[in-house]
């Protein structure tokens, strides 16, 4: 059976959903962060697959920008997590729900 674009889209949907479930059930903000990265990757995969489907390189260009945004997001997000840990000695997502130090 030949691999079509639909295969990639379905796979990307499955990975995205696993990421969503992870965000919903995890309480460790670092793991939640990782799940968000997984969701980003799933979307990137569908971008590239659709780019191939329509014979364009634009899908890959989107992925490059998504990569840069993901890198920026991770550096700031982990900085926030470290700062929260410094001031509260915990990073449980249910303990730090006041959005202030």
């Amino acid at each position: 059976m030949a691999i079509t674009t639909q295969h990639y889209l379905i796979l990307s949907a499955i990975l995205f959903t696993i990421g969503v479930i992870g965000v919903l059930i995890k309480r460790n903000p670092i793991v939640i962060f990782m799940c968000i990265e997984l969701m980003l990757n799933a979307v990137n995969l569908s971008f590239v697959a659709l780019g191939r489907h329509y014979g364009q390189i634009n899908g890959q260009m989107y992925v490059i920008f998504a990569l840069a945004v993901a890198a920026a997001e991770v550096s700031v997000g982990l900085g926030i997590i470290v700062a929260i840990f410094r001031s509260r000695e915990t990073i449980d997502i249910n303990e730090v729900n006041l959005m202030k130090f």
Binding site: M1, A2, I3, Q6, H7, Y8, L9, I10, L11, A13, I14, L15, T17, I18, G19, I21, G22, L24, I25, K26, R27, N28, I30, V31, F33, M34, C35, E37, L38, N41, L45, V48, A49, G51, R52, H53, G55, Q56, I57, G59, Q60, M61, V63, I64, F65, L67, A68, V69, A70, A71, A72, E73, S75, V76, G79, I81, V82, A83, R86, I91
Partner: protein, 172 residues
């Protein structure tokens, strides 16, 4: 079965399994390492989709930089112990999983995936092949819309660097 479909199925199984292991495992370090496996599989998919440059960048940026940063923070904060954050059993988990399965069925059965509009003509490999030359040429082509976002991205990265330093500094 052609080489492409064999590689696809292997990579697909490994990536789905590793990502499920990521959200199942209690230990953040194991979660991170499973996510690395998923990222490597995604790089493999990029090669299958003939986006070679993206595959290399995926490994360098995601596996080589972002995930190392995650591991670093996990180890620095010493959250490696599995019982650092105990997750109590509640209704949250089954509801989340049920909603997730509903969501994936919804996406897969959507009209957009089932009847994907066909491309005009049959695209040749040269049109979408992500070599370094192709990516660079369309990234810096003033007739295409990528040059301005590219410059903005550099500012975004600068802001992120400064923001991360300000956040993580001991005394503000």
């Amino acid at each position: 079965m052609s080489g492409e479909s064999v590689s696809f199925w292997i990579l697909a199984l490994v990536s789905v399994f590793a990502s499920i292991m990521m959200i199942v495992s209690k230990n953040p370090v194991r979660s991170a390492l499973n996510l690395v496996i998923t990222f490597l599989c995604v790089a493999g998919f990029y090669i299958l989709l003939s986006a070679q440059f993206l595959a290399a960048v995926q490994i360098i940026v995601y596996a080589g930089a972002i995930m190392v940063l995650f591991l670093f923070v996990i180890m620095l904060l010493n959250l490696g112990a599995p019982e650092a954050l105990i997750e109590k059993g509640s209704l949250q988990k089954p509801v989340a999983v049920g909603l997730g399965i509903f969501f994936v069925v919804l996406i897969i059965s959507s009209q957009a995936i089932l009847s994907l509009p066909q491309a005009v003509g049959r695209p040749s490999v040269t049109q979408y092949q992500g070599t370094v030359e192709a990516i660079g040429l369309s990234l810096f082509d003033p007739r295409q819309p990528w040059l301005f976002p590219f410059e903005i991205t550099s500012i975004l990265l600068l802001v992120a660097v400064i923001g991360a330093i300000v956040m993580a500094k001991r005394k503000v």
